[in-house]
Symmetry: C2
Subunit: 480 residues, 2 copies
């Protein structure tokens, strides 16, 4: 167990904070609820951005940038939207030394300002679909902040699309949810459940909302991305219309979808252990840390030379490598340094390794003996690449296994209440309840309906709460 | 001349706005001074980011993200800084439905908030140098906005570094200025003049400021990037100290440096012509537009097939290519579409081209006959790549020639006043004036001292304004 990190079992929330501090991912800002993302944390986010951005382009989206400030009146144009966001807004009342005539809202999301422009840019069916995305900061006032997971300012991407038909816009919302799901599995090694949100949990202004939900080490659910079919709600509010092929004016149908720096929180909570962070190789800022080990000055030169050569060979092969040649700290200090930061592979290079023609490797995802092995200098880059690929799939398999082991099914609300407190996790339950049932559920157990998975068993059942016939199962869990 | 674009000669400012609108680079926002960056404009900015980011990494900098909101009291800690920025601030007074105890400033730049963290993170000389950079949005209230060049919100990067010694921090400020200079020349094909700012034009809080200045088509100067040696000004205000090797507390010496979306304005104004935008291949979102041309349906299939093949071969060779296969608009419309957007090469593929086994190419940087040539299908990708490289260097050479042709030397203020209004441009003049001379200069001629170039003639002269002996020449011009 790493010094300075509270074990998960004794206090999971404290463990989370400790990992963030010790891995130097982030620091809290003087303004409550805001954070600084430090180099190691930001590099993870950049790798996430890279992977997502490529997927957005491959699905035909273009990047843009809309303004940070939105006139307050814009939000008021869509009734549910303003109601949902009002309590979370930051408001600029003064600019350039003067009181503003109309206060400006710091964007909590950009549906309104984007619709203002969609109504300028969209004239005919030929302009559709319009498929845009932006990478930006947004602000939602947060009373119970938690680094990466809930912060007043956060970084995200928001996709905004306009379509000629309802079917197309609905398909887009689901398509992008599936992109998130695939990305989470493949790149973050985080198995998520893609599903539809209930009425109660819908985005303010949406007709239908979807989410991906990941599981934290303590069995809580983290909503890690959302996608919405907005219908014509914003189009009506902003008069976003187009001339269809019959020369008639129609409102556009829209979608919006986003993931944020919260994904870093999903990675920490899905993979981390009592030694710190565990990073899937795909997003690790450094995939290999090379630690030269010498006792005498006589050994130093040869060891350093070999370590440098290894590091530069790996880099040349496209493997993100760090040679830790500091001579102000001990090898043990370095081991801990890279372990707590979650670097997938550590290579030790000492005199014995030189003599044996190999490095001594440690895989971060297999603590102890199991993760120790030697790799010959000969063909090292190729072997490293294949080990990294194995680690990536092992991490997904392990996360899946952990999640499955903490996924339960019960038949009745009584059964649920009896076990939920003691066995937190995902409860896959037949569901036909309404808003009031959800409220009661949350009040009595702190659990909520996370989503109704898109992938359903080919069967019907009985709602665990209401006893009504149910056509779909829901994921019920405590939200992080 | 393109329809809808005012010729530069008749109204340069209107030309600039027309190009931005017709090339669909940006649109103005409902909040005065803010803008939306549209896909074509944003893709240019992304290419600029990519090139700069690689250079920052190569020089040892790491990316981070600091908060958007800064407590108002932070700015007040550095006297010159708050005086300089106060008139430009946007202030958040309400958050989460409540009036805030302390108003928050939307960052105009991040020296203060970063120093708050530097003083937490820096303990000993071993933590130095600390070399950070962030890509972010900032807000400076703007009364005379102009898309890309002066906007209330803009996107930029800001480097912030802390060093053990003055010499190191000063060297860093100059090093990063030279990085900007090289980037502007090589990637943007914009020759800039790197130099030191006068006392009067210094950044609020800096000991020494530097800039790169590009020239617009009408002979005005555009400050396209700045770099500052901050001394210990912010370190003293925030108590940012370290234990040196003798175990004594010392203030860190700092630098900061930034470029913004204004660089897009530098590209537009340095290269654009009466047909619209001209993009250097290095940053063009699309380097080649392929336009298939057919008259009859019989021709269509063959032409389209060839055009598709060409476009996919070029893409596969790493050349950013767009196949414009729309059948709702004419070839002439497409030519104009890509011309106004500044795409470096246009390939036409018609029945005659198919028969001849070539494409008919037009280079955007050589309007008319001179820029027309054919390229055989055989070896097309390689030849395209080499043509793009030629265009890149031709554009730099042309921009240099234009700038040199509009760079003048005069000996006296009388001479200067006689010609400046009629012959705007860069005036390389011996300079030994002070703040009052600069003020008088600006009042009487609207010209300012842009900078004192780092590269100076090996000579001395007589100040054109004061008649005093002068050891360096200055660039005097009208600022955009």
């Amino acid at each position: 167990m790493a010094e300075n990190i509270t074990p998960r079992k004794s206090d999971y929330s404290q463990w989370y904070q400790d990992v963030i501090r010790e891995a130097e991912l982030a620091d809290s800002a003087p303004v409550r609820g805001c954070m600084v993302i430090r180099p190691w944390g930001y590099a993870i986010w950049e790798n996430i951005q890279k992977g997502l951005d490529a997927r957005f382009r491959a699905t035909g989206h273009e990047n843009v940038y809309f303004p940070l400030f939105i006139p307050q009146s814009f939000l008021q144009k869509e009734a549910e939207h303003v109601e949902g966001f009002s309590p979370e807004l930051a408001v600029v009342t003064h600019g350039g030394g003067k009181r503003l005539e109309e206060p400006l809202v710091v964007r909590p999301t950009s549906e309104t300002i984007i619709n203002h422009f969609f109504s300028k840019w969209i004239g005919s069916y030929r302009d559709l679909p319009m498929l845009l995305n932006q990478w930006a900061n947004v602000v939602r006032w947060e009373l119970r902040p938690r680094a990466f997971i809930r912060t007043t300012e956060f970084l995200w991407q928001e996709g905004h699309t306009a379509h000629a038909t309802e079917a197309e816009a609905r398909a887009e919302a689901v398509r992008m949810l599936r992109v998130y799901e695939e990305f989470a599995r493949k790149v973050l090694a985080v198995p998520v459940i893609a599903g539809r949100k209930t009425e109660r949990e819908k985005f303010a202004g949406a007709v239908e909302s979807y989410s991906i939900e990941s599981m934290s080490g303590n069995g809580w659910a983290l909503q890690s991305g959302t996608s919405h079919y907005l219908g014509t709600n914003f189009a009506r509010a902003f008069n976003t219309r187009f001339l269809d092929e019959n020369n008639e004016q129609q409102y556009v149908h829209q979608s919006s979808w986003g993931v944020s720096t919260r994904l870093v929180g999903a990675v920490i909570t899905a993979h981390g252990d009592d030694h710190g962070l565990k990073l899937p190789p795909e997003i690790a800022p450094r995939q290999v840390a090379v630690v030269p080990i010498w006792k005498s000055e006589a050994e130093k030169a040869g060891v350093l030379q070999a370590a440098e050569r290894i590091a530069s060979d790996l880099e040349a092969a496209g493997i993100r490598t760090k040679l830790d040649d500091r001579d102000t700290v001990s090898p043990g200090f370095k081991f801990n340094h890279w372990e707590v930061r979650g670097v997938p592979l550590r290579f030790e290079v000492g005199p014995k390794d030189l003599a044996g023609g190999h490095v001594t490797a440690s895989a971060r995802n297999r603590p102890g003996r199991e993760g120790k092995f030697t790799l010959p200098f000969e063909g090292l880059a190729g072997e490293t690449r294949s080990r990294l690929a194995s680690i990536q799939s092992e991490m997904l398999a392990d996360a899946e296994q952990r999640r499955d082991a903490m996924t339960y099914e019960v038949r009745t609300y009584e059964e649920f209440k009896a076990v939920f407190e003691e066995k937190p996790g995902f409860y896959r339950l037949w569901w036909a309840g309404g808003r009031e049932d959800e409220e009661r559920l949350q009040e009595e157990t702190r659990a909520t309906v996370r989503n109704i998975p898109l992938d359903q068993p080919d069967a019907e059942g009985t709602c665990f709460m209401t006893g009504r016939p149910a056509r779909s199962m829901a994921i019920v869990a405590r939200a992080y």
